[in-house]
């Protein structure tokens, strides 16, 4: 780890628009502090481009503290750089050496069409969420934290799944471009808790149906998603989704005249 500022060679994917042909363009950025985050390093490069009057590099970012799931780069061929439990914004330049060449691309998946440069449209993830990633009961104001007691192991398991920030790294790292880890985390989280359990079968059916209708692939248990996930979400949640879905497909039905009355 050096405290000396570095010079880096970057190969960055430039693409003018969704339909345009993209290509890797060489850039050189000097005076990079090892304390900078990866995104700050690109900010520095963008400042240089502005001064030269060139088009800046478009990239997604928001909280820059690893919780919003907005940053979405493929660094040296790996989503979020492939560091364990780390989003792109939490990758720091101290991980690189003076003179390194870094290849920066957008997330690569059919489900995520490129908007511009490093920005992709991850709306497909929202579509899956809209299909059932919530509970529809009106819960009113936030209840007292201990009003509904949930055994610790189950609460922990649900929390592990709830850690998903919907960044889409699982899709981008999957050799099949599948959205199973993301969807598994959502279905798993809600199926584990009493508030979500009531609608679990319908949720599983609807979310899987929408997932399949989009450009996502199928799971072949490579587990590359689990290795890449910045929140360390396990493919155990995919397994839970698989059984939730199977159970729902064979047992779920809706009563036509539920409710009764006169």
């Amino acid at each position: 780890m050096s405290s000396q500022n570095m010079s880096l060679n970057l190969k960055i994917w430039r693409q003018k628009g969704p339909k345009a042909e993209g290509k890797l363009v060489d850039y050189r950025v000097d005076n990079v502090s090892p304390d900078m985050s990866f995104l700050e390093m690109i900010d520095v490069l963008n400042e240089q481009l502005v001064r030269k009057g060139e088009d800046t590099i478009a990239f997604d970012h928001d909280c820059r503290e690893g919780i919003c799931g907005m940053c979405s780069m493929t660094i040296d061929g790996k989503a979020h750089g492939g560091f364990k439990n780390t989003t792109t914004c939490q990758v720091h330049m101290r991980l690189y050496k003076n003179g390194d060449t870094i290849v920066i691309e957008p997330f690569r998946a059919m489900a995520f069409p490129i908007v511009k440069d490093l920005t992709v449209d991850r709306g497909a993830i929202d579509k899956v969420m809209i299909a059932g990633g919530y509970i529809s009961a009106n819960t009113g104001n936030a209840p007292d934290a201990n009003a509904m007691l949930i055994p610790k192991p189950i609460a922990d398991e649900a929390m592990d799944a709830a850690a998903c920030i919907g960044c889409g790294a699982c899709v981008a790292s999957c050799p099949n471009g599948s959205g199973m880890l993301f969807m598994g985390a959502k279905i798993s989280q809600l199926a584990l808790l009493p508030q979500g359990k009531a609608e679990a079968p319908k949720r599983a059916l609807n979310m899987v149906q929408v997932h399949d209708s989009l450009n996502f692939g199928n799971c072949t248990t490579h587990a590359e998603c689990e290795a890449t996930c910045p929140k360390g979400i396990s493919i155990e949640h995919i397994a839970r989704m698989n059984r939730e879905y199977m159970k729902a497909a064979f047992t779920y039905y809706e009563k036509k005249n539920a409710g009764g009355g006169v």
């Binding site: 471009g177 072949t220 039905y253």
Partner: protein, 224 residues
Amino acid sequence: MVTSAVNHYFRSSIGRKQLVAVTGLLLCGFLVSHLTGNLLLLVSSDAFNLYAHKLASLGGVLYLIEGVLTFIFLLHMGLAIKLTSENIQSRGKYEMKKKTGRGTTFMSQTMPFTGLMLLVFLILHLKSLKFGTMYEVTIDGIVMRDLTRTTIEYFASVGNTVWYVVAMVAAALHTAHGFSSAFQSLGWNHPKYYRNVKYLGYLYAVTIAGGFAFLSVWCHMKGA
């Protein structure tokens, strides 16, 4: 809603991969019985012939079993090809992804290739052995097919034996990933025992493919 949910199951990503998983595990079971039968070659030439004769004399039942087996195999293969082609589509145009080294394995990445290799192997295997040269032998006054001779003659060739062993390596790679992956697809993953399911898959792959490969070499040594 009842019917539509089940209908969707058989068209969905999860439903189809669960069918691939179930058929794959059934085929794994078939390989166990196949290898057990083949091991009779080590007992004696007559023992293997008697076993084959016993099977052949099942008549209609055997055809039924063969029909079911063919159906399982075609379902496994057909769905796997369909799912793989969809996956290639979803991968997108640019294949610049590198692996983290903590996820994919050589076995998981080569599943479509080892699968296709096993298909080619299966066709040639049926052609040269099941529908291979017919010899007759009389054991205890009963005339039956001398399958032992067909087998020994086939493996007398170095080329045939090498190809067989190569195909068994493919079978080992295919089942080493497929076995545990099938359990995952069916939802049987557990923080404690899934690791053991993985090891069981490796053990299965090495034992079964190793057993077949050993027998082919043994037949080669006997025939050459």
